[in-house]
């Protein structure tokens, strides 16, 4: 290979790195340039005193608080639904499953993980239609349906991170308790799960981020532009990512658009925070904090 090619390849790689960094800083820079001015407390709470809004004494009409509350409830509901199922399935896959069951199950989890979120949303929507026709007229696309659909969306992530963090434990950790006479389940309960806690936890935090940012699922299953703070599981609700999508096509004045930029910055902040948290946890900070008090 001659000098020229070598220089060209080097230049190409550096150009790629610079393009990537440039593009992402353009996006974030543009967002902040347009939206930094509106990041104030009244972006979230409007004219309502913050304390009244948080205690649900008064409705917030022109702020992002209902959307943030909607996203919060949504994330809590779906992660708490997906977590027990995902943990159990992950532990089963890593510790019990063998032979053809293991092959079939892991193939189907791969498929589940890859299903586009809009298809999961469509599935949630058809469940709502199905329930509406056959069980109760009161069921429409709502917080409950969205939460369930999002739980389906993150379930394979939780299964996979649980399975992976259990499987990567060293054989020494895996065998000690068994050699001392512990049963299989005791080994899982007292040794394997606590030891892989940081891996599992960081997977959960990433799942939270996935729930918070996903728009395709919720736009089919009940997110609306104006609903206030959700009153029950069966009501429609607002959510931060849907609000951003809605504003991008339906804004009527510069003020609304500015709110859209503000909402984007808040969502970006939440997701970045969750991402960093997952990273820190993986680095083992959390294991020390949670398991060795």
């Amino acid at each position: 290979m001659n000098r020229l090619w070598e220089t060209l390849i080097k230049a190409f790689s550096w150009a790629c790195g610079i393009i990537l960094l440039g593009a992402i800083s353009c996006i974030i820079g543009y967002l902040f340039m347009k939206g930094a001015g509106v990041i104030r407390l009244d972006l979230i709470f409007g004219d309502t005193p913050p304390l009244d809004a948080i205690l649900l004494k008064r409705q917030v009409l022109d702020g992002l608080f209902p959307a943030m509350a909607g996203t919060f409830f949504l994330v809590c509901f779906s992660v708490f639904t997906a977590l027990p199922l995902g943990l159990a399935a992950g532990i089963y896959m890593s510790e019990y499953a063998g032979g053809s069951i293991r092959r079939v199950f892991s193939f189907s989890f791969d498929i589940l993980a890859g299903i586009p979120s809009i298809v999961i949303g469509l599935f949630g929507f058809s469940i709502a239609v199905f329930l509406h026709r056959h069980f109760s007229d009161r069921i429409f696309p709502c917080l409950l349906i969205s939460g369930l659909s999002l739980a389906f969306l993150v379930l394979p992530y939780i299964i996979r991170t649980t399975q992976l963090s259990l499987e990567t434990l060293p054989a020494r950790t895996r065998l000690t308790a068994l050699a001392l006479g512990a049963t299989r389940f005791q080994n899982i309960r007292y040794v394997l799960v606590p030891q892989s806690l940081s891996g599992i936890l960081s997977g959960v935090v990433l799942a939270v981020g996935r729930c918070a940012e996903d728009t395709a699922v919720i736009m089919l299953t009940g997110a609306v532009a104006m609903a206030g703070v959700p009153q029950s599981l069966l009501s429609s609700y607002e959510a931060l990512p849907f609000y951003i999508y809605y504003i991008s096509s339906q804004y009527t004045n510069p003020h609304e658009l500015a709110t859209g930029y503000g909402a984007s910055i808040i969502l970006l902040g939440i997701c970045t925070f969750l991402f960093l948290a997952a990273f820190m946890i993986q680095k083992g900070l959390a294991r020390r904090a949670l398991y060795y008090p």
Binding site: M1, W5, E6, I9, F12, S13, W14, A15, C16, G17, L20, L21, A23, I24, I27, Y30, K34, G86, A88, A89, I91, Y92, M93, E95, Y96, F107, S108, F109, D110, I111, L112, G114, I115, P116, S117, I118, V119, I120, L122, F123, S126, I127, F152, L155, P156, I159, F185, G209, E213, T215, A216, L220, P241, S248, G260, S264, L268, C271, T272, F275
Partner: protein, 284 residues
Amino acid sequence: MNRQFEKTAEMVLFLPALLSVILTLAIFVFMLVFGLPLMKGGRFFELITGSWSPGHGMYGIQPMIMGTMAIASLSVFFAFPLSMGCASLISVLAPRGFSTFLRHTVRLMTGVPTVIYGFVGIFLLVPIIRELFQNGSGFCILSASLMLALLISPTMILVFMESFDRVPKSYLDAADALGGTPVQKLVYVIIPQARQGIWMGVILSMGRSLGDTLIALMLAGNAIATPGSVLDSVRTLTAHIALVIASDYESLEFKSVFACGLILYGFNALIIVMLRYVESKGTQ
């Protein structure tokens, strides 16, 4: 009693796993059952090759399939060289400090919400494309696939990077001992060794861009037409689902979204099978 408990524990852990498998199947079955009225009498083929004209009772989703293909392949086409360059930079060419910085930035980029790419795309990228080409509104295949390329690059870079880093150190030492420069090491040792990982990265990101909704929905313009150039506006399968669902759900028009869902499900299954195939090739 202890044995009994062990059995119960295994059962309790088994059921959620089984439930998740059933869920995977249930999604497929739901799409099939709800979409059936449109596919009865062997009209499935007609459905995926026909054109869209609800006024004439034609609900073919061929334009959406073409739109999806166009945007997904173009975005992979943009993202591939970019990701190769960045992965080489991170793994081999850049000095340690910059490499670490880039690595963390790329990781962080995987966490940026899709809707934000779309939002900024509308107000930043689309006007630029419109001014640059002086052709139409700027909402077109090119805008969507450029943004999508940025969305899938981090995933691709991470997969490439990991496969670059897996190349055995002894191979690199051998190249060093022969007096190879970093670029020679990259081109003659690392990239050939990492071929499997490169394939997997490309297939994986192809899957992501086929399934992405928000970017295409917000940036591609959503016109139902078979694309003729990259500046044409198209509607993807995913965007079609999102847009039609707003209309009433008894019409035949509405049933077509389940056909879209089925096709997307099929694409995804195909991607997974391809990934498995590439993976098994490498371990032999």
